[in-house]
Subunit: 417 residues, 2 copies
């Protein structure tokens, strides 16, 4: 049987734009993996009448309703009451749940405010989803053929509760699976990717192929629906291969987290270590590398040289070179990488120096001019980037980091740089 | 007249959870500032029938409909066609728009693929929103008393087009304004904040007060609706003051971007410079500081010392101290800060050393044990944090950075540390 789910996020803070609906993303990913189709996401405020209206619409077009938010301890958390009214259930007090909440506060060195008591009220006869990562338990029940699941709103709690409580609850309802593979691309824009793969994208129905633009890269998703995972994989294998062949070495990975994850993997395989000297990226490259668990196996550290004095004192970039050529120049980028490699004792070192904005320099370099360099002891290379001022500081910093990782990947794989 | 808007985001990638609906957040913030109420967000896939259904529902309950997405050059971008069908308009080809798109490609050194041609098709008689930051123009028209606005999907483009094109279009429709102030808090949890402010939060109707949990901090939002901004501000002033008095020095700012922004401002006011030595945060502190435009006035740089060798080579932390006390210890944190201050020639230096996970160390320190230190030349201090293993690597790194900025803020303001 095919199931259709609808997500309803409850919270005025969403309608005011204070936060984005990350819960919908988390849950949609998981439902897709379970082969449960999602046709709509809805967001309503902390308003019982409009939530009741949204529930009325949703129960007509979906057989699984998942709500997020409105389970908190504060006066405007009304999800449980409103759902119980809509589906004709009472709320029941659970003393054991209250004790669990009290213990959670104690464990984190705090005392429980009395208003958390309402979190121990749950619909009669529901399946309780206890919450080890927060105070609001979730729950689920089935009424008139519609499964209603309630999850807490904070994304960290929602993710945990969805993965550990809702997924097992939903798994028994489903048959068939949807499997996707993400083909990640750096160095070719979405329009060009789509132009090259247009025929497959427009004619295929199962499996399918669809393009997505991402920040400073793009992605093609291949998706198949089949009775089981093995059958779906069988359908996807030739399609993924075709995309790789059509696009060439701009494809940097399939089902990988990021370009830096691929680079870290390559370094680990080869037993090599890396360090980074960063000017305009200001720690972003180090931060992205150390976001990965186990980073210390390949990343030794680096220097954020946001001033010329630090470039000289920490990296040994000669003062007269800075004076002659300016901080944003190829020889300075190369000297930063070489100095960083020596300082950190790493096999390779990368460097970035450039102008992320808001202003250019006094040598006529425009915002968006960036030099990225790589030094591997026996040699070095430098790439000049003109990232353009139009897209802003964050874009320039991210793009520069992407190019650094691309340089590393190409060098480690022996691809043209 | 009061206006009610509904946002419809179009894109299967949202229903699959590949991306979050950031556009809804951006637009909701802007509508709130214009005094336009938003009651619902809806997300539908790239499916003309379900988009048509969503439009039918929306036009009954809102007089402003704003769609995002589905204006791209690919075959599954169907928003304009579907809306035109629903509202009885034709699409018209605009050769001048096509030239603008072609010029955009040329400016970024690329040639325009032919499929971008469909982006030059727009509803007859619409207001065209030309798009200098991407290829998809937006547009707006009014039919049967409902204003329909179409904006591109990529958040960067959506933000620009909303702020520069949609806001001026909408401004003439509205009367009255909603003004909000965000009171930002570090060092007190949402439950406790709410418990202290419960009376105001539950009894006030205009202005209102509402609490929000954020990652590693929390926030209280005061909102007033009035005929003009001055009247709204008049209503908000005593309320914000009351919150400040009730909560005390955990309030770090009102309408500020972040804790690091406040710290940067304090450093700039006092003419002081900062540097950072980071172990487990791996560049995050430097990255957050250099996210701010003009960071070079206060931030000189720093060292990411992800290995003991770099702690010694770059920061001068004695080898025997590392051997005796371990890298995750108070004396090492203090030596890192002192060494960083000397290396970078800054007035102050901060340091972080700790265990972000996945594993503890061989001295019995658990994941989540972090030392943060601050050195100001004439003195230094260190704070030990037990951030707990439960919330994961990213949480620990973010929390450690927050504590570093809190330490700096308290030191600079002479508050208890």
């Amino acid at each position: 049987m095919n199931h259709t789910a609808e997500l309803i996020a409850v919270g005025t803070e969403l309608l005011l734009g204070n936060i984005a609906n990350l819960d919908a993303q988390i849950i949609s990913q998981g439902l897709s993996a379970l082969g449960i189709t999602v046709h709509y996401h809805t967001v309503v405020g902390d308003n019982p009448q409009r939530l009741a209206d949204a529930l009325d619409v949703a129960r007509k077009r979906a057989d699984i309703i998942i709500t997020t938010g409105g389970l908190g301890p504060t006066y405007d958390d009304l999800t449980k009451q409103t759902i119980c009214q809509a589906f004709g259930r009472e709320l029941q007090f659970h003393p054991d749940i209250l004790e669990t909440i009290r213990a959670y506060f104690a464990r984190t060195g705090r005392t429980m405010p009395e208003n958390n008591r309402q979190q121990a009220m749950l619909p009669v006869g529901c399946t309780i989803f206890d919450n080890p990562v927060g105070t609001a338990p979730g729950c689920a029940f089935c009424e008139d053929g519609v499964h209603v699941l309630m999850l807490p709103g904070p994304p960290r709690e929602c993710r945990y509760m969805f993965e550990h409580k809702a997924v097992p609850y939903l798994a028994f309802l489903t048959d068939g699976v949807i499997v996707s593979h993400e083909i990640r691309i750096f160095g070719m824009g979405e329009s060009h990717v789509e132009a090259r793969l247009r025929e497959a994208m427009t004619t295929l129905t199962n499996p399918t192929l669809a393009p997505y633009a991402k920040e400073n890269e793009c992605m093609v998703r291949a998706t198949a629906k089949a009775p089981d995972r093995a059958a779906a994989e069988e359908m996807l294998r030739p399609l993924v291969e075709q995309v790789r062949e059509t696009l060439g070495d701009v494809v940097y990975g399939v089902d990988v987290g990021s370009l830096e994850e691929v680079v870290s993997g390559l370094l680990r395989e080869r037993g090599l270590t890396l360090s980074a000297a960063e000017s305009c990226t200001g720690g972003l490259i180090a931060k992205r590398l150390t976001d990965l668990p186990g980073a210390s196996q390949v990343f030794r550290g680096g220097v954020v040289s946001y001033t010329n004095e630090v470039k000289t004192a920490a990296l040994g970039v000669p003062e007269d070179l800075l004076a002659e050529r300016g901080a944003v120049s190829e020889p300075v980028a190369l000297a930063m990488a070489a100095g960083c490699r020596r300082l950190c004792g790493s096999d390779l070192a990368v460097s970035v120096t450039g102008l992320a904005g808001p202003e250019g320099d006094d040598r006529g370099n425009a915002v968006g001019t960036v030099f990225v360099a790589l030094d591997w002891g026996d040699g070095a290379l430098c790439r000049r980037l003109d990232l353009g001022p139009g897209r802003g500081r964050e874009h320039i910093r991210n793009a520069a980091a992407q190019h650094v990782f691309d340089l590393l990947r190409r060098r480690l794989l022996g691809l043209p740089v």
